[in-house]
């Protein structure tokens, strides 16, 4: 297996590499169920959360995952950082590395920021979201959740619904699910769902009923409300009528379909509360699985020392 030193995106991973993370994640999840929710596996390692774009959920998940592996964690976030004082991203990362970071987790508003750093940094880099490009650990935790619920991926019908164009979550999930053999369809308003996505081997439709038909997995995306009033969709109420997941709409999918959402949710805009809290929802399990998968990623990257 080719050793990959960083986790920059799912695009760069082989199916085999993805399965290594998914197959190990269960063992990490077991740790989270114990009284002592911690193992000494990465004792003495230092993890730096370099979050240059606001985030609480992902940062907290990485922080807790790192602590469960017995590492020391430092949080470095935008409002308090030297970036505000004019330091370049590379200088900040080099400074963090000089402090002794073994793993740097980076979130940045520019697509490709982690890839740029990877050419200069010796520490392991994990992309926690770069612009509209990728959010690889989200895709891995989604795949792990699907694997737990559905057993496998071959021929599985997955509908990804909503604001596709701005979503790094959608992009990482498309790469991931295609590599694992799932049948992926994208659903959303034409303004948020460019035709070019078909080049990735997925089908697209603007019709919710068509997209959800016989689906095994429904992945709802957050409608990025900051885009409202920019001509992408008329109103949030109209958006819900057309592309929101209501109880009635859910009936179009298979009865045992699972409903996923990366969070944070806009209840009543992309998803009805009755669905988000309903029997088909695995949204909170995704959060728990996120810890397990991020532990697996840090553990396996740390195994790959010098190349």
């Amino acid at each position: 297996m080719a050793s990959v030193k960083h986790l920059l995106g799912i695009k760069e991973l082989s199916a085999q590499e993805i399965m290594l993370y998914l197959n190990s994640a269960g063992s990490f999840k077991d740790i989270l169920k114990r009284d002592i929710k911690k193992v000494p596996a990465l004792r003495g390692r230092t993890v730096v959360n370099l979050f240059l774009e606001p985030s609480t959920r992902t940062r907290t998940s990485f922080e807790l995952a790192a602590k469960r592996l017995s590492t020391d964690v430092i949080n470095f976030s935008a409002p308090s950082s030297s970036i505000l004082k004019g330091e370049s991203l590379l200088d900040t990362a080099l400074t963090v590395e000089a402090l002794g970071a073994d793993i740097i987790i980076i979130r940045h508003s520019s697509s490709g920021a982690p890839h740029m750093l990877s050419r200069h940094i010796k520490a392991h880099l994990i992309n926690a979201g770069d612009g509209t490009n990728e959010h690889p650990t989200q895709a891995l935790l989604d795949a792990f959740t699907i694997k737990e619920k559905k057993g496998g991926f071959e021929g599985l019908k997955v509908a990804i619904v909503g604001d596709i164009i701005h979503s790094r979550v959608a992009k990482s999930n498309i790469y991931c699910l295609k590599k694992l053999g799932a049948d992926v369809r994208l659903v959303g308003p034409a303004t948020l769902l460019p035709e070019e996505f078909r080049e990735l081997g997925v089908s697209t439709t603007t019709s919710m009923d068509e997209g959800l038909e016989e689906a095994d997995v429904i992945m709802m995306l957050r409608l990025q409300l900051e885009r409202q009033g920019k001509g992408f969709f008329p109103t949030t109420a109209e958006y819900f009528r057309q592309w929101g997941l209501s109880k009635k709409r859910l009936e179009t999918a298979k009865p045992d379909a699972i409903v996923m959402h990366p969070g944070p949710m806009n209840r009543g805009i992309e998803i009805a509360s009755a669905v988000a809290d309903g029997d088909n929802s695995v949204i909170l399990e995704q959060v728990t699985n996120g810890l397990a998968v991020r532990m697996a990623v840090m553990y396996h990257l740390d195994e790959r020392k010098e190349q």
Binding site: M1, L20, S27, R34, I36, V39, P40, A41, H300, E303
Partner: protein, 193 residues
């Protein structure tokens, strides 16, 4: 050239004796449980539990332990999937017998002890091994040993082959050629010899 150290009959006799000794030392099967270290120890733990069931009529719970998170050497290994620990009982207050195939440096057992302690507080912990090949690097000893076999620390490898993995039961000694194990490297599922 490979040398057979134990054949299937001898392995079976060793496990029978270990089973009797476990019952004798613990004055019965009350509160006992067996934890096999993946991969080699798990099948042996199941066999010992069967033998105890046949003689004592008692069902001894058997757990399967992966020690990857507790090893002191995982950084020099190839990335590989972590085995799933399966502990269908609570170790709290139990008499735990750790079972492994080859007892060598003692580092795997140290890791297993740490892993078990993180799951609860057993009343006591004992160690049963099929083969003790010597060369301890830690102050750890076996309570029950099938066979003591003097080996060369660097130049030999001991392998336990079992029916459950599609082999004929046997314990073999093979010379290590080319890249031998480096000093201080603990035994493991890949190179326990």
């Amino acid at each position: 050239m490979t040398k057979q150290l134990l054949d299937s009959k001898e392995i079976d006799r060793s496990l029978t004796r270990i089973s009797h000794e476990i019952i004798e030392k613990n004055k019965g099967a009350e509160g006992l449980c067996l934890i096999g270290i993946q991969r080699g120890g798990v099948h042996l733990a199941e066999r010992i539990a069967n033998k105890i069931k046949n003689t004592e009529g008692a069902d001894i719970p058997v757990g399967s332990l992966d020690i990857s998170f507790y090893r002191d050497d995982f950084r020099i290994r190839q990335p590989s999937v972590i085995g799933r620990t399966d502990m269908p009982f609570d170790v709290e207050g139990k008499k735990v017998v750790i079972v492994d195939d080859v007892f060598f440096t003692g580092r795997s057992i140290r890791a297993a002890l740490d892993a078990i302690m993180d799951m609860g507080r057993p009343a006591l912990v004992q160690l049963a091994v099929l083969v003790d090949r010597g060369h301890r690097e830690l102050p750890i000893r076996a309570d029950y040993a099938g066979k003591n076999i003097p080996t060369s620390r660097e130049n030999e490898r001991v392998e336990v082959l079992l029916e459950e993995d599609g082999h004929e039961d046997s314990v073999i000694l093979t010379p290590v050629t080319g890249e031998g194990r480096s000093a201080g490297e603990p035994e493991g599922e890949v190179n326990n010899g």
